[in-house]
Point group: C2
Chain length 580, copies 2
């Protein structure tokens, strides 16, 4: 029988119950958003005792299904003040799933604010252990300590920035080699966890029951079909784009499309793009030798392997991973074209437990305010260090781009619902803009990745500059994505799911194998729209409204080079995107 | 013919037109809120070129009607992100009215951010004059310079804090002796004006046409009736409570009622209340002699004269005015019981151009965050100076209480719609809480001053701790207040209006005399509710919703000493307050 575990920091108790029947078919984002919507008062203070942090592996997570090691984390966001779901790929999720734990709900808050706790989970259940000696420590030190205390476990934790309640703080998970590098980063759930006094969670699945699978043959056959599709698609196959160059392969592609946000979204073209591209990363790895690598995986069972380990000039490991989003946020968005500076900023974000996207967008706004010159990577590093040291300036920056904009009176702030925009310029790629504006998550590319169609031509190419059809495109991507986020499959499986029918069949069959269901494509739409409606309703009760589904004013007023477009999906069109 | 003047900082032009017919009967808040609702995009950036600042004298302002020198200022607030109306008593408004200018609309923003302008207005019209030498100057220096350049004018202006876009900045008007002391303080309209590049407005009514009055006899008779009522009511009469002790007479009264918010709203009783009371102020004035005085007026024609000039120990002038709200915000709310420290903080707020209420609530939250100890007035002074110097910390504090709370992770933040609560504890005085939660202005006591009934027994005494009847009480006060804010009469006339029927008749007759209308009490309700609906509709379009009409969560959870109440008007009850 699958389990739901509750840990209460107010009472310092852990309880485990059978998974309620109404949650039986849910996993991942479906389950975290549903529990948050049912149990969290939408008007509560996100850093107070009435918010919760909910963890859930996906439906197929922990099985042999490929690329399925995702963990979903949910709660009310201190950044957007709405519902938040962020997910990551990590062995942590696989171990939790193999213990039969489908959901973990973190509640309450410590009464003694100086105290910190670690939640230990294994086959015998969960228990809170005091770890106040870890208070104020960032992730490298925290995970080093976990390495001594819990060498056989997978871990997650929060940094000093999370303990301080800064909305830049994500929940940090260990990767396959136990680095602090896999983030449920967006929206400040690390701050929610940190303020509860929960420093980390460690999971050992030794002797666990494994994932309950209703129809092992169906799971096996589905997994085989999906693996086959992933192995054939140009984007996801071994030696394909993601495997060879990592996600930063997109730097040159977006730059050529005029959609690479540059210097705080003042241009769609960055003259230094080539120097920070995925190709340049692969070249540095090849030239420098040593510990650098491309084709790295965040967890066992991943066949795409899009991650990397970026080397220092002497071949020692600098950081994993220089993703496209991080590379852009801390590179092009700041006018910085030095990969070593970018790698150092990614390392600092990993150590400080920060969302690299929000960190980069925040620094872009800070540069707009005159705190540093665009292009000055060394100064950008010192600004990040202000966050790590929790200085007064660090507390401004650690609250994100919109907050920083208000502190310094900057009106060009690329954010929706208070969350900074990712690495695609909505004025140059209109469909992703529709996702940014309307996703219940705030500006979030992963919520409905229309880039697949508008830039990469997956599922049929659409014109990125056109507005026609983008309402439906974003809606379809958001709906399908919500289902994928429930399944436990990595979002990057979507390329193969969309282009290769047997791939999507395989993903559905894998879920059906685990759950004993008979889901078809109709169920993908049904479940995806149900998840989105649940999230939107939470936001409505929390006080968000149609006015929050809008671009920042400057994107309506300023034409973006080189195409000279403003953001021109109308308010009425935006209101249609999630009007199911 | 009455006029509407427009000044555009983008084009550096001033135009004057006949007042549009649909505005013919409007004045004050009715006119500013109506123009803002018609002309300002509710979703615009409040500090961007599409916001406007609208000034309007009241209907009877500039005539001989008593206590009528109010100026209304409106716009979209950078503090609440909704509509904002703030008003002040000042000769500025009388002079504007006597030039026949019923509304002044400030639009656009300077293209060269280093430039500053002063708008000169006289009988020949309006003109923008460059005054970039005043950039970065606070109010004492700015008004000293205005004294040299414009000795015969009345003035308003913004400080360096306003130019920096800080939402603590109000629009500062000259009092009868040209001090920078009369504030349209709340909601950051000084920041909106400052960011447009408009440093000040100076008005000379010499040779002007005077206020157009349709029926002078009716105006005269109405004014006489009102003056008679004001002269008889215990609160407003010469030698009465307000005249003898100033508004700070309320310190002891609220403290005895257990409703004086103390140490960031953690208690309703302050042990140092007596030392900062209106009685103590009057005593200091009497003992120290010199320039101190009670019974001071903000403009000629005021018969209540509730203001004061607080003296230094040697009898020199320290500051005008130590109002109840300022005294409380910078006193009891910070645990400070030294009137000289409080006076110095009021002086700094006047110089820096800051809303004293928001400044005090912000410092209370900062003390909660540990930036200073409660009771440490000297340290509180240095925190205010951070705002004046526009330091990094000053930019946090200058953004208000809710912003400061988020920067430092404080969850006990007494604010509604982002605006700090004034000097009445809603858990001890339930009706004023209904006004705080539901006023389109955010937490604002002047929007519906139920204290008159709940504490002072004006219009019939109601139990402050009871919830019964408070929905209607707040609605009635908010409606009547909106009309008073349109009329141009000081809100303090309300005591006499409510208790003495001939007083209200007089106020109505004075308006009817000016406008040639036949308003009765029914029109007060009609106009008041129309104003509130206009404002609420702007807020809805701006993205505010029912979730914004709620107390901060801690007031639902924490019982307030000494009565031990939480805030217990239900969400449904709050939703009924302005449900016309």
């Amino acid at each position: 029988m699958s389990k739901l575990m509750r840990v209460n920091l107010s009472t310092l108790t852990v309880t485990t119950q059978d998974l309620p029947a109404e949650y039986a078919e849910m996993g991942g984002r479906w389950l975290t958003s549903t529990i948050v919507a049912r149990e969290v008062d939408p008007t509560c203070h996100p850093l107070g005792p009435n918010n919760k942090v909910v963890f859930a592996p996906g439906i197929v997570t922990g099985t042999t299904a490929p690329c399925s090691g995702r963990i979903s984390v949910g709660g009310k966001s201190p950044l957007t003040m709405g519902i938040k779901e962020a997910n990551a790929g990590t062995p942590f999720s696989q171990k939790l799933a193999r213990l039969g734990i489908r959901a973990l709900v973190v509640e309450g808050e410590v009464t003694d604010r100086s105290k910190r706790y670690v939640l230990e989970i294994d086959k015998d259940g969960g228990r809170l252990v005091e770890a106040s000696d870890l208070a104020g420590k960032h992730m490298e030190e925290t995970f080093a300590e976990f390495g001594k205390r819990y060498p056989g476990h997978a871990w997650c934790g929060v940094s000093a920035a999370g303990e301080a309640g800064l909305p830049l703080a994500g929940v940090c998970f260990s990767d396959a080699e136990k680095r602090p590098s896999r983030y449920a980063g967006r929206g400040g759930l690390g701050a929610v966890m940190g303020r509860k006094g929960l420093k980390g969670i460690v999971v050992d699945d030794s002797g666990g029951p494994g994932v309950a699978v209703k129809d092992p043959d169906r799971l096996k056959e589905g997994s085989r079909k999906l693996a086959d599709a992933l192995g054939r698609h140009d984007v996801t196959k071994p030696g394909g784009a993601l495997n060879s160059f990592g996600t930063a392969v997109l730097i040159n592609i977006l730059n050529e499309a005029g959609g690479l946000p540059t210097r705080n979204f003042s241009s769609g073209v960055f003259e230094g793009a080539q120097k920070i591209s995925g190709e340049a990363i692969a070249e540095a790895v090849a030239e420098r030798g040593g510990k650098g690598m491309v084709g790295h995986r965040c967890h066992d069972g991943c066949v795409i392997q899009c991650s990397n380990v970026y080397p220092r000039p002497d071949g020692e490991e600098h950081v994993s991973c220089v993703e496209y989003e991080s590379d852009w946020a801390l590179g092009a968005n700041l006018g910085v074209d030095d990969l070593d500076d970018i790698a150092e900023m990614v390392r600092l974000c990993n150590d400080y437990g920060l969302d690299t996207i929000e960190a980069g967008v925040t620094l872009g706004v800070a540069m707009e305010a005159g705190l540093a010159d665009f292009g000055d990577g060394k100064r950008a590093i010192t600004l990040l260090q202000e966050i790590g040291r929790l200085t007064t300036l660090g507390r401004i920056l650690g609250n994100g781009a919109a907050f920083t904009g208000r502190a310094f009176g900057v009106t060009r702030v690329p954010a929706v619902k208070g969350q900074g925009m990712p690495a695609y310029e909505p004025r140059a790629v209109k469909g992703i803009g529709a996702t940014y504006m309307t996703s219940p998550m705030g500006a979030d590319h992963t919520a409905g990745y229309t880039i697949a169609s508008e830039i990469l031509g997956v599922g049929g190419k659409t014109d990125p500059l056109a507005t026609e059809g983008k309402v439906e495109l974003s809606r379809n991507f958001q709906t399908t994505t919500a289902w994928i986020d429930a399944s436990g499959f990595c979002l990057f499986t979507a390329f193969a799911l969309i282009d290769i029918p047997s791939g999507f069949e395989g993903a559905l069959e894998a879920c059906n194998g685990v759950l004993g269901t008979r889901w078809t494509m109709d169920d993908v739409t049904r479940i995806g729209s149900e998840i989105l409606k649940t999230e939107a309703e939470f936001n409505r009760k929390a006080g968000l409204s149609a006015a929050d589904d809008r671009p920042p004013e400057f994107m309506r007023l300023e034409k973006l080079p080189p195409h000279g477009h403003v953001y021109d999906l109308s308010d009425d069109e935006l209101d249609e995107v999630l009007n199911f």
